[in-house]
């Protein structure tokens, strides 16, 4: 067997120059006549953002990972390592890399960053499509029973048991049914589904074949957001290859079951992640939600029974069929089984995708895999879970285990798995305002509570962050939130007040500081920042001077910097860069 050189080529890898690195490897291998010995494989994202990751796997030898590889490093790697067998110490992935992967349990992500997503043979080599083969020999009811027993719950947000959902759709009487994969990942701060689609598209296709057979659908749709061009391209390739192999099309695996898939590209609307809006969008209409019932399982796409599942949910299916429901349900905690992929981003050292068993605590994720804060001097403040439908949790709740029920109790939601870590430089009022401005912009406008109620809440939050807050505003926000939660038409409105409610619940003193003292403790709300340099804190590092785009900061040797307010445009670049929060 040839030795393998794996190069990570997700969207992030490519932006860091992975394609150039791969080309350079090819050239250098040719130069030393090694091309017959080594194979260059373009794999998907492994989950850790470390610019270009390169793995060298030689038979019977330890696997070597290099991180932050640049084109100029390639000749060195080829000459020293591949030719002469000397590892390059300085480039080898270090402690952070090991720590990031140490606590993970990779099931859904097992193939991401390990195989070439554009080559079906590699997937087949990893037992790909075995589960589909096995499933098509089972009765549909048996499959549903197995999924029910496994305890798999939807990974798209609500956590509805997948087996039950399939059963509803199976029982609906109709000549045509549809299975739909929700790849609209609109939650800002989440990128699990993108990485799965880019790194292992066949696992989703396989999950859909099994699901379609179980519910009795012959046609499937994958609704993917337009912001993910690479994911669409790889899916398209995967579907084409699966068709060639006759895993899709007529009489799959010689059975009487026929099934095919179509990709539908979204056009940029967050609300289209909601099931009924997604259906409207596939039908070519404005993506506005409809009241439920009737549920999609009875009356969905083109009025036919339809089943909608998230990407990660579907990627789990093959493993359950392969290894059995008992194996799956042995992983996890309470009523949440299996693993969950989280996208960690924000002010932590290691950002990327982690897959952990349910029941892992938030602390283990942030300080374990995440490796703690980027800047040790500026401590942690909050973690945001579940995007615009979720909430911000303080450190005191860090030992909450990750499962649907425990997280709901805190007022946040599990959501799709976005986890943004914030430090003391993030203002909670500003975050609440940020999420509301997002939901106001994305509200489809069909129902009044969401369209007008959220707008009123946003106006109040803007007043607070501009320093015009009033004592009674807090009560208004809470009352209005409750009304919207009770009356909005779809999940977008029902959950939109969560970021406001959780920030008021856990960070009330920050709201009070804005309202009573007219100050922003995190120096974020521009109107409440004085732009003065606190000489007690300043360490004269000079970074503010370097970063100021208008030259408003004057720095003389060994003196404190002076900020010229006439030149200052309040861009806050200095505040962002100051390591000790000395600009107030």
């Amino acid at each position: 067997m040839k030795a393998r050189i794996l190069i990570c080529m997700g969207t992030s890898g490519i932006s860091a120059g992975a394609e150039e690195v791969a080309k350079c490897f090819k050239k250098e291998l040719n130069k030393y006549n090694l091309q017959s010995k080594y194979e260059i494989i373009r794999v998907g994202d492994r989950g850790l953002f470390r610019d270009v990751l390169v793995d060298i796997i030689e038979p019977n030898e330890e696997r070597i990972t290099y991180e932050r590889v640049k084109v100029i490093d390639v000749p060195k790697i080829v000459k020293n390592h591949l030719k002469n067998g000397e590892y390059i110490k300085g480039l080898q992935a270090g402690k952070d890399y090991k720590q990031f992967f140490a606590r993970q349990m990779r099931i859904v992500l097992s193939n991401c960053g390990e195989i070439d997503p554009e080559n079906i043979e590699e997937y087949i080599e990893k037992d790909g499509y075995e589960a589909a083969k096995k499933a098509l020999k089972m009765k549909p009811e048996e499959i549903i029973e197995e999924i029910k027993k496994s305890g798999l719950r939807g990974r798209g947000g609500a956590g509805f048991p997948t087996g039950l959902k399939w059963e509803f759709c199976r029982k609906a009487k109709s000549d045509t049914k549809y299975i739909i994969c929700n790849a609209d990942e609109g939650d800002p701060g989440a990128f699990m589904d993108r990485s799965i689609l880019e790194g292992d598209p066949h696992s989703v296709v396989e999950g859909m074949i099994i699901g379609a057979y179980a519910i009795g659908a012959n046609e499937g749709y994958i609704y993917c957001r337009a912001e993910y061009p690479l994911a669409v391209k790889r899916l398209d390739k995967a579907i084409g290859q699966a068709r060639e192999k006759k895993f899709l099309g007529k009489n799959i695996f010689g059975s009487r079951f026929s099934f095919d898939l179509v990709i539908k590209e979204g056009a940029g609307a967050f609300v289209c992640g909601e099931e009924t809006a997604l259906i409207a969008s596939i039908e070519g209409k404005r993506g506005t939600p409809n009241p439920r019932p009737p549920y999609p399982a009875q009356k969905g796409l083109w009025g036919k029974p339809s089943n909608i599942n998230n990407v990660e949910t579907l990627a789990n299916i093959r493993h359950i069929i392969d290894k059995g429901a008992d194996w799956f349900s042995s992983i996890g905690y309470n009523k949440s089984k299996g693993t969950k992929v989280f996208a960690i981003a924000g002010k932590v050292k290691n950002t990327g995708l982690v897959e952990v068993p349910m029941g892992t605590t938030i602390r283990e994720i942030v300080y374990g895999s995440g490796g703690g804060m980027v800047n040790k001097k500026i401590p942690f403040k909050a973690v945001q879970l579940g995007g615009p439908s979720g909430g911000c949790l303080p450190e005191s709740l860090f030992d909450t285990p990750i499962d649907y029920e425990s997280i709901n109790e805190t007022g946040a939601i599990m959501g799709s798995g976005g986890m943004v870590i914030m430090d003391q430089r993030t203002c909670m009022v500003d975050i609440a305002r940020f999420f509301l401005s997002f939901t106001v912009a994305e509200s489809c406008g069909k129902c009044i509570p969401c369209r007008i109620g959220l707008k009123r809440m946003l106006e109040v939050l803007e007043q607070i962050s501009e320093g015009n807050g009033k004592e009674e505003h807090l009560k208004f926000l809470k009352d209005m939130s409750q009304t919207i939660i009770d009356t909005a038409l779809c999940g977008l409105g029902n959950t939109a007040p969560n970021p406001v409610l959780t920030t008021i619940r856990y960070f009330k003193d920050e709201y009070q500081a804005h309202i009573k003292d007219r100050s922003c403790p995190s120096h974020v709300c521009t109107n409440l920042v004085r732009f003065e340099i606190n000489e007690d804190k300043c360490i004269k590092c000079g970074q503010c001077f370097t970063v100021c785009p208008t030259g408003a900061i004057d720095l003389k040797k060994r003196e404190y910097p002076i900020l010229n307010k006439e030149k200052c445009i309040k861009c806050k670049a200095c505040i962002d860069v100051c390591p000790v929060m000395a600009i107030e």
């Binding site: 969207t11 932006s15 609109g186 800002p188 990128f191 609307a269 969008s281 039908e283 981003a345 943004v420």
Partner: protein, 158 residues
Amino acid sequence: MKIDVSHAKKIIQRYRKKKGILIPLLQDIQAIYGYVPEETVGLISKELSIYPVDIYGVTTFYTQFHLMPQGKHTIKVCQGTACHVMGGKGILNCISDKLGIKDGETTEDGRFSLERVACLGCCGMAPVVVVDEDFHGNCNFQKIDYLLNQYKSKKEES
């Protein structure tokens, strides 16, 4: 400016007698013209018996569609959660300042269009800016300067 609608006619032919076609059809039209020209809306309406109100309903609902010509390069600045926390707003303001346009607008010379988007799915390298199809992570003010200059000179070459 007159629009050559023959491309649009060809595209429309491909979608005849199919269901749920409006969004992909408009996406294809936008891929050719860079936006959805008024003339093509009339054409779609006539050829496929869809009311113009439904077409405009769709084009205005989804942020992807433009009804005005776009700049040569489209700059998308992420304003998702992670990018917001890492200073994405400053980046947007900075670019907007440098180009002299607000988000959703196009520079007078037709070189750049500026857009804000919510999460591009690369939150690990926030703040993120995308120019045309190229992703640029971990942006700061210096990098923006460099980027804009690069694209400005690119234009002059071609």
